[in-house]
């Protein structure tokens, strides 16, 4: 903040931005630093100059303002209290149950050799899958978006489709190919194959919206193409990579189904094992505490990364389609590599589904429940995504529009809980709901609440990315025209958030369709989803009976994947 006054005096921008950008680039690239900085500043200033002028002339007006220090209205605080309270429930539950174990037992449990083994596995898996996904995802994005790759349209689709295959389906397929695909190495391979699209998509979007003038400028200053790539392009997609990487990492921390099929033990599988082995949740709570601690860096890393994200934004008027890099002799290896990737990520799991269907004798056994399971899946995932997004809204508005002191911390809370297994959240809700609101117990409403607790960060990240682009002044204009605060919000801000909502909700729907444990424990008796049926039939060894459910799960997941892909890439194209 110290150098902000001088900068603000002649720079028509919100106070933090030049500082963040300058610090980042100054640290990273001493030589080239100024170039992207100046270009980006110029571009952004042209796009949004009203903001800062207002920020400067109305310093203490107490109105809602981007980056301002205004006081939040009561309705917003009340609305934000709801998700904070819900997310606090599992944390309190874990603390209370962990406390029951006593200090001595806690230390004995946490300091035994197996904890080190679990920690090593958990970290190795999280870091390796994230790293590999970044490499593969970025390579795909670069090949498809920036190179003269034959069949770009087809590859774009094929590279996104693995998102539709739940990790537990692909893991079973791979595990049954033999023991060499099991264990930590196999898990890293298989989970990378199912998670790299989460990197590919933001990377591709960033490449699309990138200001190519920076690259041109670098080339005109005598940089070779590869050097310009490394020094100009990579820094610009880095925020997108980091955001995607953190998403992958939090998935790895919470992954259970795939890992147990692949015989890898992490903190999450150990928590499940505790609940399988004994009828005292104290130890499971202690392990959950460790897991939440592991989520802390992810939670705050996301916030840290997002600070840099402004770098990637460019003025849309100045953009043009980048020239495609000719591939030449690399064309064939690139095609082969992508084909191999698609075969591994899609061919193996889908082939195995077909194999079960034709070979298994239980084929058709559960056909009667198919429609019910589809209805259950759709109802739970759509309703859950709606509630999750609704609950995320006040949190995001509070954090982006008002500078209250506690907002940043409270806003991070859901990210810590995001890494908890659904089982722990479900048991916390069982304990809480049956005592506090018995009428809600075993209703779909409670399932929605559990989903919201588990997946709030996905909605927060998506909303936040858009909310930061909506100037608060639009809303203020509506208010000067006579609308109340809520009406102005509904008429102006909410519709402007829609693109972010679309991509965010699609991703949440996708995640919810494969959620298993919270659904099993909380759904009304008799309600089934495609995921619970796959679990149920494979548990009984009836793979052929499970196959149609798994295939439908992949098929139905295709829709949110389509929406998510389209919206994410479109945001890239529009530069918004």
């Amino acid at each position: 903040m110290s150098l902000a006054p001088e900068l603000r005096a002649d720079d028509v921008r919100p106070p933090e931005e030049p500082r963040a950008r300058g610090a980042l680039l100054g640290r990273e690239e001493p030589g080239m630093a100024d170039l992207p900085l100046r270009l980006a500043v110029a571009g952004d200033a042209a796009a949004g100059d009203v903001t800062a002028g207002d920020a400067k002339t109305l310093p203490a007006a107490g109105r809602s303002r981007r980056g301002g220090r205004g006081r939040a209205p009561f309705w917003l605080l009340a609305a934000a209290a709801v998700p904070v309270f819900l997310v606090a429930l599992p944390i309190l539950y874990v603390l209370a149950r962990g406390w029951e174990a006593g200090l001595a037992a806690a230390l004995a449990l946490l300091l035994r050799p197996r904890s080190a083994e679990l920690l090593a596995n958990t970290l190795a898996l999280a870091l390796a899958v994230t790293g590999l996904s970044i490499v593969i995802g970025t390579a795909c994005a670069f090949l498809i978006e920036r190179c003269a790759l034959a069949g770009r349209g087809l590859w774009r689709t094929l590279v996104c489709l693995p998102l539709a295959v739940p990790a537990f389906v692909s893991s079973y397929a791979w595990a049954s190919l033999g023991p060499s695909f099991q264990g930590l190495g196999g898990a890293i391979l298989i989970l990378t194959l199912s998670h790299f699209p989460l990197i590919y998509l933001p990377a591709a979007a960033a490449l699309r919206r990138m200001d190519t003038r920076l690259e041109d400028a670098a080339r005109s200053l005598g940089e070779t193409a590869p050097r310009a790539l490394r020094r100009v392009v990579l820094p610009q997609i880095r925020p997108a990579l980091a955001a995607g990487g953190l998403l992958v990492m939090s998935h790895m921390l919470a992954e259970f189904g795939a890992l147990s099929l692949l015989r890898v033990q992490t903190f999450t599988t150990a928590i499940f094992q505790e609940y399988e082995l004994q009828f005292n949740s104290a130890n499971a709570a202690l392990l959950s505490g460790v897991l939440m601690a592991l989520c802390l860096p992810v939670a705050f890393g996301e916030a840290w990364v997002r600070r840099d994200q402004r770098l990637a934004r460019a003025d849309r008027r100045s953009r043009r389609e980048p020239p495609l890099l000719p591939l030449g002799r690399v064309q064939l290896p690139a095609q082969l590599g992508l084909a191999l990737l698609a075969a591994a990520a899609l061919g193996v799991p889908l082939g195995m589904l077909g194999y079960w269907l034709t070979v298994g004798l239980s084929a058709g056994a559960g056909a009667a429940g198919l429609l019910r399971a589809i209805a259950g899946s759709l109802q739970l995932s759509l309703g859950g995504a709606a509630l999750t997004t609704l609950l995320a809204l006040p949190l995001v508005l509070l954090a982006t529009r008002f500078g209250t002191r506690f907002a940043p911390l409270l806003e991070r809370l859901p990210y810590v809980v995001h890494g908890l297994p659904g089982l722990v959240v479900a048991l916390a809700l069982i304990f809480g709901a049956i005592r506090l609101v018995p009428a809600l117990y075993q209703t779909t409403a409670l399932v929605f609440v559990a989903y919201a607790i588990l997946f709030l960060p996905l909605a927060q990240s998506a909303l936040r990315a858009t909310a930061e682009l909506v100037p608060a002044e639009l809303e203020q204009a509506a208010r000067t025209l006579g609308r109340g605060p809520l009406a102005a919000f509904a008429a102006v801000t909410l519709p402007a958030l829609a693109p972010g909502l679309g991509a965010g909700m699609a991703l949440i729907v996708l995640e919810l369709m494969r959620e298993l444990t919270a659904t099993l424990l909380l759904a009304p008796s008799g309600v089934s989803t495609l995921a619970t049926e796959v679990w149920s039939y494979t548990n009984d060894g009836s793979y052929a009976a499970a196959a149609p459910y798994a295939a439908l799960l992949v098929l139905v997941s295709g829709l949110p994947v389509y929406v998510f892909t389209l919206r994410t890439l479109k945001q890239g194209r529009r530069g918004a």
Binding site: R112, P113, R114, E117, S176, P179, S260, L261, R263, Q265, Q273, E274, Y275, E276, L277, Q278, F279, S281, G360, L361, S362, L378, Q379, L380, L382, G383, A386, T389, L390, L423, L427, I430, F431, I434, P438, Y441, Q442, T443, T444, A445, F448, L494, P495, A498, P499, L501, G502, M505, L520, L521, P524, S525, V527, T532, N539, D540, G541, S542, Y543, A544
Partner: protein, 343 residues
């Protein structure tokens, strides 16, 4: 390429969400408690429960609302629910989860005539739960990879360097906890801990019994310690004639020949004790036991009921003298498994 207006997208999204939420509420509305309704928390394999529930509803007119899950998770759920649980009956894949609830005083005593249908060996001494079916711990082996004669004569023989990476087991399974407790009661703490440490060193851990059994059948590992019915489950899926694996019975009252049971109990807090008692009576009746025996390759516990599966005759199993009631909630297994680095 069509374009969606933001407002209409938002409106559609909110409408869909609200619709889903409303539909959710209606599910609850259709779930009013009545005397003709029973809530069953089911951890037993579903094909068994589905078959027996259908027959019970047909015979009595009582509707059964079934909630499926893994038995220990259901027990944990019941413990969190406490007195407010909507459950009337718990049908568990193994006996330790019901024994855990009995220990916490959550189960009602079963009527004497229900308990009398099943041999006393397989019933809780306190009368709070009853075994429904039995199964044997066995060794599944792949005939292409190992000869039956080469298999150790005792369970203890598997934790040996000669079997390094050749034997699969599922330390997180219910049945394995029971196995540990049986060993503990028969051979003492040191022998048990030594065996567990050996298994940790030489054995290959599988997530569950079915996973270990499939690995044997695929030829991924020569043998695995499982329950007998998993072989039949896989045989049902691939066809018995094509099976490359077979079962080895250890017998000789070895801990590895342990008999374990599936079990059922009535929750004290249940709202419909009468219907719950009728359901339990049906599970142990000749009709109920026949349906259960047909649905899965477990031994029906009621005397005189034959299984259609080619099971090893129950009389030839020669199990150790440890009963399900002796195993209790198998809590003693955990400190040992933990000390051996298995949990």
């Amino acid at each position: 390429m069509y374009r969606i207006d933001r407002r209409s997208l938002l409106r559609t999204g909110l409408a869909l969400g609200a619709g889903a939420a409303l539909a959710g509420g209606s599910v609850r509305a259709g779930r009013a408690a009545s005397a003709d309704e029973l809530t069953l928390y089911n951890g037993q394999h579903r094909q068994v429960t589905d078959a027996v529930v259908a027959a019970f509803s047909k015979a009595t007119g009582i509707e059964v609302l079934v909630r499926n899950g893994s038995s220990p998770q259901i027990a944990n759920q019941l413990i969190e629910e406490g007195d407010l649980s909507p459950a009337d009956v718990f049908y568990s894949e193994g006996s330790p989860p019901v024994a855990a609830l009995a220990k916490r005083g959550m189960l009602a005593k079963l009527p004497a005539e229900t308990l009398a249908q099943i041999p006393a060996t397989y019933v809780a001494t306190s009368g709070e739960w009853t075994g429904i079916t039995a199964r044997a711990r066995v060794v599944a082996f792949n005939r292409d990879l190992v000869k039956e004669e080469e298999l150790p004569a005792s369970l203890l023989g598997f934790a040996d360097a000669r079997w390094a990476d050749k034997v699969g087991y599922a330390p997180a399974s219910d049945a394995f906890q029971e196995q540990i407790v049986a060993l503990l009661q028969m051979k003492g703490r040191d022998a048990t801990l030594g065996w567990l440490r050996g298994m940790k060193k030489v054995g290959r851990v599988y997530n569950n019994n079915i996973g270990a059994m499939q690995a044997v059948e695929r030829g991924e590992i020569p043998c695995a310690l499982i329950n007998n019915y998993y072989w039949f489950t896989v045989a049902q899926e691939v066809g018995a004639a094509k099976m490359r694996s077979a079962l080895h019975y250890i017998r000789h009252q070895d801990p590895g020949a342990l008999i374990t049971v599936s079990a059922a109990a009535i929750l004290k807090s249940g709202r419909n004790p009468e219907a719950a008692q009728r359901f339990l009576a049906f599970l142990v009746s000749a009709e109920g036991q026949k349906i259960i025996a047909d649905a899965m390759a477990e031994y029906p516990l009621r005397p005189g009921i034959a299984s259609p599966y080619a099971l090893e005759p129950f009389d030839l199993l020669d199990p150790p003298p440890v009963t399900p009631a002796d195993l209790g909630d198998a809590a003693e297994a955990i400190p040992l498994a933990r000390e051996a680095g298995l949990a």
